[in-house]
Amino acid sequence: MAAAVALRNQGITDILIVEREKQLGGILRQCIHDGFGLKRFGQTLSGPEYSQRFIDEAEQMQIETLTNATVIDLSEEKIVTIATRDGLRQIQARAVILAMGCRERTRGALAIPGTRPSGIYNAGVAQSYINLFNTMVGREVIIMGSGDIGMIMARRMTLEGAKVKAVFEVLPYPSGLPRNIEQCLNDYGIPLYLRHSVVKIHGTERITGVTVVEVDERMQPIAGTEKEFSCDTLVLSVGLIPENELSIAAGVELDNRTKGAYVDEFCQTSVPGIFAAGNVLHVHDLVDFVSLEAEALANGAVRYLKEGTLPACDIELVASAQLGHIIPQHISGTQDFQLSMRVRKPMGRCRVIVKQGDTVLRRVTLPKAIPAEMIQFTVKADAIVSGERIEVSVNEI
């Protein structure tokens, strides 16, 4: 919606938003907690309120929407096939904006050993049952993974009368934001155990418990540290993966680190005229950044629609080992561009350096950096000195 509104603001009239749910708003409809909108709107809102702002704008601008409609295919020629209750629709688009968000990593993907009882939920699924469908998933809860949604669900389930016994995180640092540790766990006395992994699931019908073990620096279980915890519910908050099945169908090349598309500074993918923004491109920690990224994308999409093409983006960007990934992966060098990245491990005071050869294009000093928080800043076009590749690195100082 943010991209559609921004496109309309720039004079594009022929826009269609396709949504598989019956209502617009995506995952925000179930994110009833507050904390959204501080960057984008300067005030703190709940998920539904945040998304309603965009729904209202889209409605006012009379942007066409198609809800309860699932895109089942997207071709390289930008033919979009949509399943609706009225039949299949095929639309030839001039430009396509991918905004499918992300999905949760599952128990199966982690290959957690043990039996396969009921009562194991991904945090987002539990959230949807509890906040949308008035369905309680369990009473005695263990949470695996310290992702933000898991911590938010720890609080949510506690408020609704469940006993959340603990959160276990295999890494030596939390995956989610510090404020969620404070207001979702500490406020309710829920312990967070770092360097702990769930290594076995018990129960043949409903889950009856888990075995947890401490892990060493190399994430290997430490013998003799096994502990059993009883529970009737295991909630997993172990990472999000951009939902790129349609992108793959369209021939869009993906970056193995982000699991999202390779993009240039216009958020254009490897297929001309197909753009990506938000969690489908790389998983964000804040919805505000998702909207801002989509709004920025509109500039490139409008230019593509008007000129039929965008400048060649031959300058490659590479991230040093301390950085998990970097967006965009290549640029034209003709305009200022925004860089997004995450560190792999928590760092104290540190400096991000953007270099081309020996020339420093930008230097940013941060009081701290953690994997849970995305780092974003702008690099000026006039700083770029050549067509050589740009290296981005971060070091503790």
């Binding site: 598989r20 309860n68 699932t70 089942i72 096939t81 399943a83 609706t84 209750r85 009225d86 039949g87 299949l88 095929q90 999905r103 949760e104 599952t106 128990r107 199966g108 993907a109 290959a111 050993p113 043990g114 039996t115 396969r116 009882p117 009921s118 009562g119 991904n122 987002g124 699924v125 949807s128 049952y129 509890i130 949308l132 469908f133 008035n134 369905t135 309680m136 998933v137 369990g138 009473r139 609704e160 290594v199 076995k200 699931i201 043949t204 019908e205 409903r206 009737d232 099945e245």
Partner: protein
């Protein structure tokens, strides 16, 4: 008044369902007593889904006869029962000269059994046929195939039900006695059932039923196998099963098998677990699956794992010989009106219908039966939206708009299919039951998107309360009730 049947089939696995279906060709009242809440919950649902060629076992064994017969007729069976099936062939690859000798011996055995089209192929041919498989040479088995064991068992059971067979789920047989008329009284976990005939198709528990009926007290000697399921992304890189050369005692190490739905299975591992039945997947076996699997097929990577499972094979030891048995299909004058099936493990899926026909033959030896003139061998499955052409998809949506609502994004399953599954003829109402009838929740997100919708449909269409919705068995509740 106790419910009375001509025949009680114990066990709703692939064999029990095939037996029920074949017996429904005659004028008989038949029930299937199943301890779980759906068919295909034991060994039938936890295997590789392979249509065996008949190459592995010695000539003359019941296993060999049944699997050869089952293999030969399966194109026709698949058509009748609307079961997706592909005769894709199979490769058994080797690396060393020792393995070459073993493969050649296997080839000879296959030829003796009458398996057609077997040949050794060299490295170049192997690479041309299956570019992502390992191996320096291979034995090619063109008659092997792949099918979905759930779809096949459900199809047999639904066809049986169409022809009058009654499925009684949640009916574990606890004891068997005879009334003064010589009829069987089956004490179950529900109400007792009376039947003139009993057919023991109890799979993992067949040894118990065997003893209850008065047949030999076979000793369970179970084998467990663990599997990983890979994302459909890998399916296009494997066109047929790739096995390593069997070891000296004829056991296969971890192999890779494409599924009829486009995933790849890695496994099974082999563990002897004697009396126990455990379906848990263990850390050490996951490691073995990763390592050995990658040796067979380059795409066995953790990134592609979407789920794992374990299966247990009901191998039994004959108390008279102390050896593991062949398929046992037996009846006895001393134990009238009973047919005993024991030791039906691999290749039981391939052999189900041939076994069932042998059961019918044993029944006919003791009793003449009237043909059921209304028997219809044809069963139609749920039409899968994802597998249709664009024109046909459009036609489906016009006929039922629910076909236009995608419920499971990963597997492209529509609301119409879920609704048909909820109203299945067997009356199964579990979430897993819907999964196996539609493939919903079987994709890479494992139900993250569609499970809430399935739960809603069960509440709306089947009038179930939240707390009564079960994953797959009693006690496996999904919800504790309303939030408020």
């Amino acid at each position: 008044m106790m419910k009375k049947y001509d025949v009680a089939v114990i066990g709703g696995g692939v064999v029990g369902s095939a037996v029920a279906r074949e017996l429904s060709r005659f004028q008989l009242s038949i029930c299937v007593l199943e301890r779980e809440l759906d068919v295909c919950n034991g060994t039938s649902g936890h295997n590789t889904g392979l249509l065996h060629s008949g190459i592995l076992y010695k000539k003359g064994l019941m296993r060999t006869q049944c699997s050869m017969e089952g293999n030969a007729e399966f194109d026709q069976v698949a058509k009748e029962l609307d079961v997706p099936f592909r005769r894709c062939g199979k490769l058994i690859v080797g690396f060393s000269e020792e393995e070459r000798l073993r493969l050649e011996a296997l080839l000879e055995n296959g030829v003796r059994n009458g398996v057609e089209g077997l040949r050794m192929i060299d490295r170049d041919t192997l690479k041309a046929m299956e570019p992502n498989a390992s191996g320096n040479f291979a034995l090619y088995v063109p008659t092997a195939g792949i099918l979905c064991p759930f779809t096949y068992t459900i199809a047999l059971a639904e066809n049986a039900a169409q022809n009058g067979v009654q499925y009684l789920f949640d009916h574990e047989v606890l004891d068997i006695s005879r009334n003064p008329e010589g009829e069987f009284i089956l004490k179950t976990s529900q109400k007792p059932v009376c039947a003139r005939w009993v057919i023991n198709c109890a799979g993992l528990y067949a040894y118990k039923i065997s003893a209850m009926l008065g047949f030999a007290a076979y000793i369970p000697n179970r084998v467990k196998g663990q599997y990983e399921i890979l994302d459909k992304k890998t399916g296009k890189f494997l066109s047929m099963p790739v096995y390593p050369t069997p070891n000296e005692v004829g056991e296969f190490d971890v192999h890779v098998t494409p599924t009829i739905d486009g995933n790849v299975l890695v496994g099974p591992t082999i563990e002897n677990i004697q009396q126990n039945i455990s379906y848990d997947v263990t850390q050490d076996m996951i490691k073995i699956l990763s390592e050995s699997g990658e040796k067979m097929f380059a795409y066995v990577k953790r990134d592609y794992f979407i789920r794992n499972y374990a299966g247990v094979f009901p191998t039994v030891t004959d108390p008279a010989t102390g050896k593991d048995t062949d398929f046992v299909i037996e009846a006895s004058k001393e134990i009238p009106h009973a047919v005993n099936l024991v030791g039906i493990n691999s290749p039981g899926l391939t052999s189900a219908l041939p076994i069932a026909r042998r059961v019918v033959k044993l029944v006919l030896e003791q009793e003449s039966l009237q043909e059921n003139v209304n028997f219809n061998p044809v069963r139609k499955g749920i039409t899968r939206f994802a597998e249709q052409s664009v024109q046909e998809q459009n036609r489906l949506i016009q006929s039922d708009p629910d076909y236009g609502e995608i419920f499971c994004r990963c597997e492209c399953v529509t609301k119409a299919e879920i609704k048909q599954a909820v109203h299945n003829i067997l009356g199964v109402r579990t979430v897993s039951g819907i999964k196996y009838r539609t493939r919903a929740t079987m994709g890479r997100c494992q139900g993250g998107y569609c499970e809430t919708r399935i739960a809603a449909i069960l509440q709306d269409e089947a009038d179930m309360r939240k707390e009564d919705i079960l994953l797959n068995k009693n006690g496996a509740y999904l919800f504790t009730g309303k939030v408020k």
